[in-house]
Amino acid sequence: MAVSMRQLVRRVIRLSNRNINVTAGGVSGRSGCCWGPSSCRCFSDRNTHFGFETVPEAEKAKRVYKVFENVAQKYDIMNDAMSLGIHRLWKDALLHVMNPQPGARLLDVAGGTGDISFRFLEYVRSQQERQKRRVARTMQTPSWQDISNSYSNEDKDGPQESKAVVCDINKEMLKVGKQKADSTGISAGLSWVVGDAEELPFDDDQFDIYTIAFGIRNVTHIDQALQEALRVLKPGGRFLCLEFSKVTNPVLARLYDTYSFQVIPVLGEVIAGDWKSYQYLVESIRKFPDQEEFKSMIEDAGFYCVQYYNLTGGVVALHSGFKL
């Protein structure tokens, strides 16, 4: 009788914990789940990696949040120092592959300090200028009919405006990004939203382009993030992911490993005063799946025409997929 009661109690606790695990995964990090972690650790068998450590899934999001909260102020400087400025070229490459047409709407997830969004707005603006110049060149000698037509078409630019939405789970990163935007004067067409990549606060079929640059390896459930990406993209929309990946050349791989583990945490300590966050950074790169595996994950989520480009010999990979 006592045995069966104990079994019943245990079963009830297990069931309730499973429910908590599911909700904790969904709410990851937005609110510290109060009695989730303590009982999860006893009964949950769902762990994930946090760098080279193994942690329960509910905890990973919190710890990632703390990492980025600490590094937010010095994020851009550290990027320049660690990659010797090459990260700008990677982001430029992303924009070139994206080749956005005027009027496109961008969702930049894990956009943080807004690098991709700024480049996007600049690109679209220069495209529009180029188009206007081309139209002006062909209309060198307009007839009276053309002139009167242009008067009536003056308000055409309204629906053509492209918008960029920067979404990040971390408020500190968004704050830094907003400051940058204000200081450089790019604020038209830019919005800043707090949100979780696994559960985006947007409706279906909203965006033309979804990008996630150097952010997806910090997400606890990558497949959920991919499915969310599929959901918010319009039909024909494009998913682009820039992420550190496996270096293909063995010699370069050895150099890269040495640099990552010996130099980067030291730089982190010297410049940002935070060794552990940068240790987490380089470890999380090692834990992320390689190019082919990630490509098949994207395909599994339901994207078509999935492709990847290796940049800098495989240090960074740019994956692209379409929602068709």
Binding site: N99, I209, G236, R238, S296, E299, D300, G302
Partner: protein, 394 residues
Amino acid sequence: MCLDCFASRVKLTKQRVNRPLGQLEMAALLRGVRAGRALRGLAGVVSAPAARKPQCSGLRRGFHCAALRLQDESKSDKPSSSSSTTYHEHYQAHSAEQDTAAASHGDSASDPAAEEAARPNTSYQDQSGEQNEEYETEEQLQARILNAALEFVPQHGWSMEAIAAGAETLGLSSASTGMFYNGGGDLVLHFIAQCNSQLTDILAEQHKEIQLGQAEAKKTADFLRDAIETRLRMYIPYIETWPQAMSLLLLPHNIPDSLKHLSTLVDDIWYYAGDRSTDVSGSYQPRSPPSSSHTFLSPFHHNPHNIRPASSQMNWYTKRAALTGIFNTTELVMVQDSSPDFQDTWNFLDNRIQDVTNMATTAKQMQSTGETVVQGFMGAAVTLKNLTGMNQRR
């Protein structure tokens, strides 16, 4: 495909089966030489800037940013000659695993996927969400986007903007233009392939009518003129922007594909003109199947038992080279023609075809004269030897 050509050729050329072995090697040698010469000739005719081979690898994907030179090794390495067809072949290579893997996933995941609302049910997708259907419609989808984009070409030119506008009319986001790595080049090549297939259909119709006896067979010169005129008239809606299209076709990474389309076009026209050849029986033309990719290479490559005499080998290449020359020059004339209904262009076409016909008859006359002269000399030489007694056996 090779076996089919072989079978058809064997059927049609029963009388050519028995051949002395000695001429085979010579024929092969001549074939190689002539193939090289003909290819060079064709390249000279077609590409004005004499860009023979796509050696320019720097502009592979049209990336202009110097930073992308860092992209030293690209897994998605598209061959520089990517057009709609090779793109699809390469696509298949890349997506073959994807689709076989996804096919197994698709069937199992179709039900939960529908519940999770992750996969939208677009109009062309099956209710069952089978991956095989989707794979076929990917290319069809691209073809549909390019077809829709053709309407916007007069406004935007042959460019990504036209493709974006086309995609939007289909209800797709403008970001789907990212599927077309070649940009305007993809659009032009698609259009040309479409024109070629339309022409082939028209010629097949005419051929059927002639076979049914409903129409009369035309002379070769007339047939060629009509075929080229029909083909060039397809450019009339886009004639304003056609110079841009021609320049896109001449870009190094597009040259292999544009040459391929041009050669299939010329081959098809000669195929349908083949019956009405005015050649003397000494030169036989093989009936190459229309629109197969390797008809550009000498037909002897797939049927070694059917080697023609050396003089008529030249004929196959010369004919196609001549027609290519005529077609390209007429196209150039058409682009700057301002006469009503392009009458100047058609006059030019008539004159060129007349030139070629005259040259052909002149060449034949010269050849027969030359043979006669040689025979005369041989006769004189034998007579001389007889007179001097050198032919006597002692």
